[in-house]
Assembly symmetry: C2
Homo-oligomer: 379 residues x 2
């Protein structure tokens, strides 16, 4: 194998494929990056067995200036290889592989020789030959992921809750995640997305990683689903993830349908107030802040305290406060995550009883996006 390429283009493709590579893998060959050179293109593959990412640079990509001298393939130690490529002195670089899987990387006067592995030892990527596909704009997909992934569980005790439940039918996509203390649900109507229905659970970690790769320049993402794998295709990238097996809990019944108290806040203002209130509660034994709503006096006050350090209280400004008086305590970190997911917008908080879950929805469009938080008992 031998090729020359412009280093900048190579680094971009390398960084993308490398996102899938974990230094903690038990499978030695997966600490490497697989490089495959055909007569017309260069393919880089990284994988941690759960996620696999493949990036392609075509000979037709003028910016990359790929010159293919001899096709072939190799697996190179990913971390070193990346550091070497980044530090090479010139704009162009050349890689040559000999029959003993030794790679020679040259650029200007610098010449690195590093030991590689036979690419035959690298696991094969899943084969996904689904005819039907779902098409979704990259920015929408990214938004759905970032808004719901916050509620994904990081406890392996109930593996199914480490995923995001995605259900598509009748042109509507529903995304839900819950760690049983909080829940995030987003609905969206997709036009021309596809005709087949789906009901799958994708690991939250895979989707977070995917969201990081979805830049603003990517236009559409094509989604193909097989038995236990999902493939996202965009730009020059193929992103594979395994699916979680099992049935996702019925989350519909968790979201309260009515409320005793409602209050409207600006999401960003409330976020800043919660951040202040949590400064001290974080130090206490219980990471809890208390919200007091008094509809008669039209007062909303947030309290935080740490027995050692001190306490904080703040009168919150709100748009509208209606219903019963209520005092409720909750984990401020859950609230911060939820509020951050709304951006600069007005939200409506709906509550029933001190120990019952409450919801946050955008005031303007409450039907399609819900954040739910379960309060904490403090007595």
């Amino acid at each position: 194998m031998k090729f020359s390429i412009r280093r900048n283009s190579f680094i971009t493709a390398l960084n993308d494929a490398q996102r899938a590579i974990s230094s903690k893998t038990a499978i030695d060959v997966l600490t490497g990056i697989k490089i495959t050179l055909s007569a017309s293109k260069l393919t880089l593959t990284g994988s941690d067995a759960d996620i696999s990412i493949e990036t392609v640079i075509s000979q037709e990509d003028e910016k990359a200036a790929l010159q293919i001298d001899e096709p072939g393939s190799i697996v190179l130690p990913a971390r070193f290889f990346n550091e070497i490529v980044k530090k090479l002195p010139e704009d162009m670089m050349t890689i040559t592989i000999d029959e003993r899987f030794q790679a020679t990387i040259t650029s200007g006067q610098a010449e690195f020789t590093i030991n590689g592995l036979d690419s035959e030892t690298y696991p094969h990527l899943p084969e996904i030959e689904a005819d039907s596909k779902l098409t979704i704009a990259a920015d929408i997909l990214k938004q759905i992921i970032t808004q719901t992934v916050i509620a994904v569980s990081n406890q392996e005790s109930r593996p199914i809750l480490t995923g995001i439940h995605l259900a598509y039918s009748n042109g509507e996509l529903l995304a839900v995640a819950t760690d049983s203390h909080r829940l995030s649900q987003r609905k969206i109507t997709l036009t021309d997305a596809g005709t087949q229905d789906y009901d799958i659970i994708v690991p939250g970690k895979s989707l977070s990683e995917l969201a990081k790769m979805l830049g603003d320049s990517t236009e559409n993402v094509e989604i193909r689903i097989a038995e236990n794998q999902i493939l996202f295709t965009f730009a020059n990238t193929s992103f594979y993830s395994r699916l979680l097996e099992g049935n996702y809990p019925d989350t519909d019944r968790l979201i309260p349908q009515n409320s005793e108290t409602t209050v409207e806040f600006n999401a960003v203002d409330l976020l800043h107030s919660i951040e202040r209130a949590s400064l001290l509660s974080h130090e206490g034994r219980n990471n809890v802040v208390k919200l007091s709503l008094k509809t008669g006096a039209q007062k909303a006050v947030i309290y935080g305290n740490s027995p050692e350090i001190g306490n904080v209280e703040e009168d919150l400004s709100f748009k509208k406060l209606e219903g019963n008086d209520l005092e409720i305590s909750f984990n401020p970190d859950y609230m911060k995550d939820a509020l951050s997911s709304f951006g600069q917008t007005d939200i409506t908080m709906s509550l029933t009883l001190p120990l019952r879950p409450f919801t946050l929805v955008p005031t303007e469009d409450g039907a399609n996006f819900v954040q739910l938080i379960t309060p904490v008992r403090t007595f």
Copy 2:
């Protein structure tokens, strides 16, 4: 005690004083920041017993808009206090202290109450009543520190080597540091600096911290020296450090006076080559790179290797190479530190024998700045 102040100005002064505060201190009160309010100014003090920093905000500072309602003093938990002040909602903030050392911090609708300590329990700053002082431009002092501090030892086995030796006489300031593997020496002629001679050893850690505070807007630093303390005064800041006691080794005799081989490099180009060569050597059991100089063939080549990963070699470009052929091995990290201290300039490397220290000096001005490195035996 009660005062109001513009938050931005307060944060700047707080951050400066807080540089001296270590969370690892065994003296509880030193985890706090001391706030002293007189009839005309606010003083913030932080200390870790080795370094103490005092910053002053005067009532005359219009940007700070300091309003003094009642003088007094308090010690507040530094980390929390800083986080609280940074997150307050409004431009202005007010602090009130009650007789039980409780501080109430208000800004807009937010009100924090935190427990403080009696400022009487806070250690007194050293008293330095030296009449004579040394005056030096801040940028020069910063340069001298950053160029020499790299060679300071971090081993407590020989405490004296954890300091920088500063000797001032006849208008010339000499700064030297060595960890016994490398040495860095800088000389500078100061005009109108002061008339008294000094010979002191200042902890490298103190000077690193000082250098970080010397911005480009600071014009002059005044230095006063007492029995076992040094005080740097600049802008609104007083920076105290203890001095190290003992005799600094005679470093003059360590610097070779002649050489068998000399070679001239561009410091930045050589730095990049060393960075590449050290990528692999860092992984090996010995962190060593090898430089081969062949004057007949006019070749300079750098080698690095790791038995597991592979090796690297690079032909170095140089300006001039004269004298005996030589192969020398050294710790690339020492070389990187030394080369970084020169900036974008040409340097002359002077060598004698494979196991004898070699020096790097600026080609244009070799008398006032020397970096010395002891090679490593590799056989």
